[in-house]
């Protein structure tokens, strides 16, 4: 009897460790309504002389028409000469491409951009990432949501070169669903989920390891993490709460891989604090 009671007590004590994250919502942005998310500039989102990685889950019901783009994320406002980095799905002359525009002094004179061809299947979740290094290179990665756990990233095209070797430390706003504040006609049409900004280059293996896992606070070089799961808050602990522009909504559409059968363990600071770890 004592053993049974001990087992029950022990089970109750350990139960909180089995934290199964069931994601519910993603952010739904309608292009014809110019919907996106912004955050006033914070220097923590300026990579400066460091490498950086932008990543997130994106879902496209449509793709951009020729000469337009869907902003994925960025920190930029060309109108105030605060061009920093701009990441988008662009349609350049009829060819769909993942594009990174990066700038070293905020002016149009130091614009550098790289593109790789990539045509997404509509109504499908993709985990996208662009990895910039101060060698002036950028690599684009894509993982397709299969509904199974641990989708694998593959590099799209070859590593692109020719970018600036540092990034402007400007005061442009951080944006999700838009690449630059002055480019507000080129908002995304689709959904976004679990978007992150790192001041480091992330390998494909590192991207795979955290594709559905909330990183939370205290993770080295993680500068911002927005799950967009019915919240505008920054999970990385830098209080970079987003502003909702033009009434974007949350929608019950999340990558199947992130709610696959195997447990997804979160790094919930509330729980770890409770147990004193």
């Amino acid at each position: 009897m004592k053993k049974l009671l001990a087992f029950i007590v022990l089970s109750l004590m350990l139960a909180p460790y089995a934290v199964f994250a069931t994601f519910v919502d993603s952010a739904h942005m309608v292009r014809t309504s110019t919907q996106y998310f912004s955050r006033a500039s914070d220097s923590v989102l300026n990579p400066g002389s460091n490498n950086f990685t932008l990543e997130g889950w994106y879902y496209f019901p449509t793709t951009p028409s020729s000469g337009t783009n869907y902003g994925l994320a960025g920190k930029s406002d060309a109108a105030t000469t605060n061009r920093e980095y701009r990441w988008s799905l662009a349609n350049n002359g009829g060819t769909l491409q993942l594009e990174l525009v990066q700038n070293s002094d905020g002016s149009s004179g130091t614009n550098t951009s790289v593109d790789v061809n990539w045509t997404p299947q509509t109504n499908t979740w993709f985990h996208l990432a662009v990895v910039y290094t101060t060698a002036g290179n950028a690599a684009f990665y894509v993982a397709t949501d299969t509904g199974a756990i641990n989708p694998t990233h593959v590099q799209v095209g070859t590593t692109q070169s020719g970018l600036n070797t540092s990034t402007f430390n400007g005061t442009g706003p951080w944006l999700i669903g838009l690449r630059s504040l002055d480019d507000s006609t080129n908002t995304i049409n689709g959904d976004a989920f679990l978007v992150r900004m790192w001041s480091m280059s992330r390998s494909a293996a590192q991207l795979n390891s955290a594709v559905c896992t909330l990183q939370g606070t205290g993770v080295a070089n993680l500068n911002g993490e927005w799950s967009l799961d019915n919240t505008l808050n920054d999970d990385a602990g830098n209080n970079l709460t987003l502003t909702n522009v033009n009434s974007a909504t949350f929608t019950a559409n999340v990558p199947g891989s992130c709610n696959a059968t195997a447990p997804v363990t979160t790094r919930n600071p509330a729980i770890t604090t409770f147990f004193g770890f």
Partner: protein, 161 residues
């Protein structure tokens, strides 16, 4: 961060010129509904001054300046608790209903856009005017500074300005 309250429109830009069409606005296809949606955040009530231009004798045919539009938006917010978004050409986005005239008292210039936002510091809006010189945006509310800018058309256009 805070530049001008909602009752005190930002003064960092002069009234923007209006009235000349520059076809640089491009819109994509709208997303098909995926599932049930719910508002991201609830509007927060903000005290507003009494409107001066709406509902009285001498109502302008169109609201041509950001200041006129601001007064109309403030009046709308005082009743509905949200600001009213307007696309170019007095068109409405999916989440708005009615008409510009019904909401703001009269139409706005066809080359003017009103965007709205809701953030941790409260609600606000942005008036964008497009003319032959470029795009002029004036923000109102707690994030007015972020949403105020001017993007002039360069002499030689580039694909990534």
């Amino acid at each position: 961060m805070v530049v001008g309250g909602l009752g005190a429109p930002a003064k960092s830009l002069p009234p923007a010129p209006v009235g000349i069409t520059v076809p640089i606005i491009t819109t994509g296809s709208s997303a098909s509904p995926i599932s049930v949606t719910k508002p991201v955040s609830k509007p927060k009530p903000v005290p507003k001054p009494a409107p001066k231009h709406i509902g009285g004798i001498g109502l302008p045919v169109t609201l041509n300046t950001p200041q006129d539009i601001a007064a109309a938006e403030v009046a709308y917010h005082s009743i509905h608790g949200t600001y009213f978004q307007v696309l170019k050409g007095n068109l409405l986005p999916q989440h708005e209903s009615g008409s510009v005239k019904a909401a703001l008292g009269t139409n706005i210039d066809t080359n003017t856009i009103i965007n709205t936002y809701s953030g941790p510091y409260g609600d606000g809006f942005q008036v964008i005017t497009i003319d032959s010189l470029g795009t002029h945006a004036v923000g109102y509310g707690p994030e007015a500074k972020t949403f105020t800018y001017e993007s002039l058309i360069p002499k030689s256009a580039t694909s990534t300005p």
